[in-house]
Each structure stands twice: as C-alpha cells, then as structure tokens.
C-alpha cells in the first residue's frame, strides 16, 4: 500500500469506527458501545495491530483534527442560546466555574506531586479536566504533549461519566445545577453527554460549565503554569 492509499484507509477507518459506534450506541445504549469508549479503542487496536506508522495515519486524518478550532468557535452558539439561564444565576455559575477550574488543576497537581511520573505525562495531566480543543491549546504552557493530553482528557471524561452517579448518591447531591456543573467541570464533553441523559437542564448547565472552564483554562494557562513550576 502506498502512502496515500494508507492515508485514505486510515481516514475511512476513523470515520467508520466513529459513526458505527455512534449508531450502535443509539440502538443499544450499552456503555461499551459509547463512541467515547468504543471508537478510540477499536481504531487504536487496528492501527497498533497493523503497525501503521503515525505519519501515514495522519496523512488525511489531520484534517479531522483541524476541525477542533471551528468547533471551539461554534461553542458561542450554545452560550448565546442559554443567555437567559446565565443571567438568572450569575453568581452560582461564576463561582462554580472558578471552583471547578481550580479543583481540576489543583487535584491534578496534587496527585502528580505525590507520585513519580515522567514530566511529559505529569505535565499533560494538568489540563485533563477541560474539553479537548481547549486542552490541546493550553497544554504546551504546562510543558504537556498534545497527543498524551488528548488521551488523558478522554480517560478523564470516561471516568467522570462512570463514577458520577454513585458519587452523587453517596454525597446526597440532588440539585440539577450542582450535578450539571460538577459533570461539566470534571468530565467536559463526556460529562455533558452524561448530564443530558440525567436531564435537559443538567445537560445545558454541564455544557456551559465545560465551555467556560475551557476558555478560562486557555487564557490563564501561562499564569497557572508559572505558579506551579
């Protein structure tokens, strides 16, 4: 297979892996079919087992990653759409975003402080609780690597999705605003998807929290990095 043939194969593999898991999840609602779990696992397994070189994998798929920037801009639309909700609870939303952002960063810093991990791994962990497009922009300030960061962000999302319900039950968290904000701040996109399953209001609040913490992280990353190092 020549390079461009391989490139097309990888692009089709990525599209097929993603959309088939999306369709399967819509039909069966089993957590292991969820696109955030099934799609990366299947695609990584194929790329690893066929020993496809990364340069070949990226020939055309880097165009998919290029859509992360337009997707970031698109976040303006849900903020505009939910402007009335934002105006209703400005204090709760602001404080929630600040607390969520600081806890996300602080908790990552705390665990890397007590464990011995290689620098590129521990640095990439810092932005793990914000959404991928923001995390990838913010991670170089901390000395993180975009590839590792994307993986850690994904794992964080899956983890938050799985542990949220038992935690909310144990901690007796009932209000939809608290659930939504906690999910958006800790598990970004995956958290927002989970929150939407719990309820519409939870989903909207989680999405807003995810966007605001992401923007704040990108803007404040150099400052935070200077404080940590």
């Amino acid at each position: 297979m020549n390079i461009s043939g391989l490139g097309i194969f990888c692009l089709l593999l990525t599209l097929a892996g993603y959309y088939s898991s999306k369709i399967l999840y819509r039909r069966h609602r089993k957590v292991w079919f969820a696109p955030i779990i099934a799609a990366p696992v299947v695609i990584l397994a194929v790329v690893a087992s066929l020993h496809i070189p990364l340069a070949g994998y990226f020939t055309y798929t880097h165009w998919l990653a290029a859509l992360l920037a337009p997707a970031t801009i698109a976040f303006a639309v849900p903020i505009y759409r939910e402007r009335n909700l934002i105006k209703q609870y400005p204090i709760t939303l602001t404080v929630g975003v600040v607390v969520g952002l600081l806890l996300g960063l602080g908790s990552s810093w705390l665990v890397t402080y007590f464990t011995a991990m290689p620098a590129e791994l521990s640095n990439s962990l810092m932005v793990r609780s914000v959404s991928t497009p923001f995390a990838i922009e913010a991670t170089p300030a901390f000395g993180g690597v975009p590839g590792l960061t994307a993986m850690l962000v994904l794992l964080t999302g899956v983890m938050g999705m799985l542990i949220c319900e038992p935690l909310f039950k144990v901690a007796k968290i009932k209000s939809s605003v608290a659930k939504g904000m906690a999910l958006g701040a800790s598990a970004h996109g995956a958290g927002a998807a989970k929150a939407t399953e719990i309820g519409r209001q939870e989903g909207v609040i989680a999405s807003l929290t995810m966007i605001f913490t992401g923007v704040a992280m990108v803007i404040l990353a150099p400052t935070f990095a200077a404080l940590i190092h």
């Binding site: 599209l15 892996g17 993603y18 696109p35 799609a39 990366p40 695609i43 790329v47 994998y57 990226f58 798929t61 880097h62 998919l64 990653a65 290029a66 859509l67 992360l68 920037a69 337009p70 997707a71 970031t72 801009i73 698109a74 976040f75 303006a76 639309v77 903020i79 505009y80 929630g96 969520g100 806890l103 665990v111 791994l121 793990r128 959404s131 991928t132 497009p133 922009e137 690597v145 975009p146 590839g147 993986m151 850690l152 794992l155 983890m159 935690l167 901690a171 968290i173 209000s175 605003v177 608290a178 659930k179 904000m181 906690a182 999910l183 701040a185 800790s186 996109g189 923007v215 990108v218």
Partner: protein, 144 residues
C-alpha cells in the same frame, strides 16, 4: 422544536445537508481568519477563543442571526469526539510510558476526578440554594 413523525423527503434532506455543510465551511473560513489574526497580533490567546468571543458578540448584537450558524454549530459540537480521535491515536508513541505507569496514572486520576466532582457539586449545591432564595426575596420585595 418540531418533531416530525414522518421521514423528511429526500429533497428536504438534501437542502438541510447543504445548509449544514455551507455553515460548517463558513465556520472553517472564519476560524482560519481568526487564526491568522492571532498570529499577526502575536496574541497569547489562540485564534479559536478569539473567534468564539467575536461570534458571541456578533450574535448578541444581532449582526449575525442565530439561524445562520445554528445547524453548522450543532454538527461541529455533536461530532467533536470525531475530531479528537486522531490526536488520541498518536499516544501509540507513548505506549511504553503508559504501560509502565498505567496503574499509578489511573488510580491518581480516579482520586483527582472524585475531588473535582464532589468539590464542585458541594460548592454549587450550597451556593445555588443561597442564590435561589436571594432571587426569590428580591422578587418579593419588587412585588411589594
């Protein structure tokens, strides 16, 4: 929101797809322009975040109608996961590190995520009750 029980006709579907595709293209062009501006200005804030702010201002001032960007934005946001699969695949480079530190990594992430979830939920839960009562009191005073 309109829910159609009957399937949309092919011509309607083609029209909707064309609208969505055009809007996504507009987002891409705008994003590229913002990127160039950010580089030219040597901005510490990336072009995408500048673009988000600019679009939000344009929407608030009604200079851009919501209808013009709605479908494209919905598609870009709902398929966000597809766009970050390529960066995730590049972790193959770091396979050794991840295998070696996998357990430490996962357990520390679990602890950290628990802190964020509970900390945020507790804070917001208390604060929301306070702000809700405050608003109710203010409205009551306004009524008197």
């Amino acid at each position: 929101m309109t829910t159609t029980l009957t399937k949309p006709t092919p011509s309607v579907r083609i029209k909707n797809s064309t609208i969505k595709f055009t809007q996504v293209c507009l987002f891409c062009i705008f994003s590229w322009a913002c990127h160039i501006v950010a580089i030219k200005l040597n901005s510490p804030i990336p072009g995408s975040v500048i673009g988000l702010a600019v679009l939000l201002i344009l929407l608030s001032m009604k200079l851009v109608p919501e209808k013009m960007v709605n479908n494209g934005a919905t598609w870009l946001i709902s398929d966000l996961l597809l766009f970050f699969i390529p960066p995730v695949v590049s972790v193959i480079k770091y396979q050794d590190i991840l295998e070696h530190f996998g357990t430490v990594l996962l357990s520390s992430m679990l602890i950290a995520s628990t802190i964020v979830l509970l900390g945020t939920a507790f804070t917001v839960d208390r604060l929301f009750k306070f702000e809700h009562q405050y608003r109710a009191k203010k409205q009551l005073q306004g009524a008197i």
